[in-house]
Symmetry: C2
């Protein structure tokens, strides 16, 4: 679709933000002459456009940036019921949305997508010509081509080639991805980790997910399982987990676990904020639960830092504030369990996200394939 130089240019801009042609040339290791042509082509394709003019000594430079309306992507989240379907522009802004019933039958899903797509696109006529891909986020393991779902407990799938089924029904390039990995990709393309080459995103919700970027690219692992920190043993001989082992991070630090522990203690808390309130009022059980959960998540993050030395840890969460007891304990535990001379070297940020995370993440998978493409050799 695009030449490799064109893709490289888009990749650099998506990582560094707007740049002049000259800066692009040097950062891509090409001549100004070559850049001139590549930029011209992408501008006439409508993917790139000139933005700000920077005045300095000499002729002013004109910054080039991705044209927000230069490419559109559809994102579908199979994590919710009904399934969310959004249309995203090149900035990750959602410009249209629809929902569709969630099914477990791949053919039915493809059919539903094909039916809902025209409704979605009807809201933005201009996007039809510039629709470059569909991304689907789901809970489960996905192969390295982002085409087959190797296994999904939630959907009851094993080796389902969803991407090609949808591609065939809609005629549009389709890619699927694990939920946490999709969130990481959207943060890399549209969020706060644009210019970070190596980082991990921890998605904190009912479950705990995680995904790594290494060298500016999503690292999926040999079986697509990189980042599955939820089932690392964090409390040896701890509580039994639904996975079959004991003391998994998931049994202590996920929202689901926190709520269950609260319930077991007889606390009427339905959210993290409720529990934080109780704790701030001095409720010993609430404090104990938040301490335990925060320590567990902090230790896992410390391992992450110690093992992989990322440039940033980003925790995304739908619920709750992260400036209470839980967040504080978590950060302290993370700092206390890394090599002292490392402590404070790796920024740990948290970011509240809205209910569109999964669908936006799904769309970003399609954008990622458009911008970065499949791994070269």
């Amino acid at each position: 679709m695009l030449t490799s130089s064109q893709q490289q240019l888009l990749r650099v801009i998506s990582q560094s933000g707007p740049l002049s042609r000259t800066d692009l040339a040097t950062s891509m290791g090409l001549s100004k002459a070559a850049m001139s042509g590549i930029a011209r082509d992408l501008i006439s394709l409508g993917v790139l456009h000139e933005t700000e003019t920077i005045y300095g000594q000499g002729r002013p430079s004109i910054l080039l940036d991705l044209h927000p309306e230069g490419a559109f992507f559809v994102g579908i989240s199979l994590l919710e019921d009904p399934a969310a379907m959004v249309l995203s522009d090149f900035n990750g802004s959602i410009v249209a949305r629809q929902t569709m019933p969630r099914s477990r039958d791949p053919d039915v899903i493809a059919e539903l997508i094909a039916e809902t797509l025209p409704k979605l696109l009807a809201e933005r006529e201009d996007a039809v010509r510039k629709l470059y891909g569909i991304g689907i986020a789901l809970s489960g393991f996905v192969d390295e081509k982002q085409a087959n779902c190797v296994q999904s407990t939630l959907l009851g799938w094993k080796d389902v080639p969803l991407a090609s089924i949808v591609r065939q029904k809609t005629g549009i390039d389709t890619f699927i991805e694990n939920d946490a990995k999709a969130v990481a990709v959207s943060e890399k393309l549209f969020g706060s980790t644009r210019d970070v080459q190596n980082f991990s995103v921890v998605s904190f919700d009912d479950g705990i997910g995680c995904a790594h970027f290494v060298g500016g690219k999503l690292y999926r692992g040999n079986h697509g399982g990189a980042g599955e920190i939820a089932h690392c043993t964090i409390e040896p001989n701890g509580s039994p987990c639904r996975c079959g082992k004991r003391g998994c991070l998931d049994t202590v630090a996920s929202m689901k676990a926190i709520k269950e522990m609260a319930k077991a203690e007889g606390l009427a808390c339905s959210s993290l904020d409720d529990l934080e309130n109780e704790a701030s009022l001095g409720n010993a059980a609430a404090i104990r639960i938040l301490h335990r959960a925060g320590n567990a998540l902090g230790l896992a993050i410390a391992h992450l830092i110690q093992f992989n030395d990322p440039g940033m840890i980003l925790i995304t969460h739908v619920e709750g504030r992260f400036d209470g007891l839980f967040g504080t304990v978590m950060r302290q535990a993370a700092e206390a369990n890394v090599l002292p001379r490392y402590a404070g070297q790796t920024p740990i940020r948290n970011q509240r996200v809205d209910g569109d995370v999964w669908a936006r993440g799904a769309a970003s998978i399609a954008a990622h394939n458009f911008l970065i493409g499949p791994s070269p050799n």
Copy 2:
């Protein structure tokens, strides 16, 4: 030095082993015509040569492989005293060796290298013209250019630009690297992980080191600290570690820790094999120590698998056999602490290495830079 296509070809061969021109062309996404020329150039450079002829239907194909004597590299280990210096061919075979006194002064080291180099090369006259680089392995942190030692406790260094000092004195391209990372690179280039894209090497010795390969490339981490698993907290509130925290893997599972625990228990064991013998004779203290150490290392490896989903874990060790109690417990702990459906999916191999590991690893760093080069964008 080499064009990017030439480098890519060498990289592919070093990963896949000998290939025909046609196979190379398809696996590199080039035409047969282009391959023909690239191969011709590399053969006349002496880097590549024709080996086996494969007969099938049609004209037989001729496999191309790296010419063992097509390129030579010098490896220097600053981990031992005296420091080891070896000359390695393109297969990782050591064809000459020297030693030199170990110094802590970078200028003295460079001087010593410059003095010893001619003696080393005198043993292999033909290597002089084909010496493509020097690699130096040391204990410490190295920057991403593999040029500056950011910090080394052992050598008492902070921000020492050793590579450029040596380069200036010798006139030869020089790169430095952390010890464990150097070992991982030598396994990737010359050892048993040639065709594995994602793996981690755990070097088990007096200390415990680790390094990751991701996507066929060494992943160094944002501060060069990826793989520093020795100081991950494995026994919360465990024994104090020299790093300042408690319960680090290093305090329980390193050879140094094992020997110290044995001594504390009054056992006269000076090696892992001694301790294994005691354990097999029923000595409760020996059994306890090996259990504790094996469990700790196994748990750390389980985390490694769970976090990064590598295609292989390779444990290199100078001392001991790994088929005794320690190895068994370690493997069981590793399997027991990963998501059950993962268990057994990630091969955990161990490999006994000789005293040349560090120097050979150092040489492989130079080879790696020749073959793979610095990270492209």
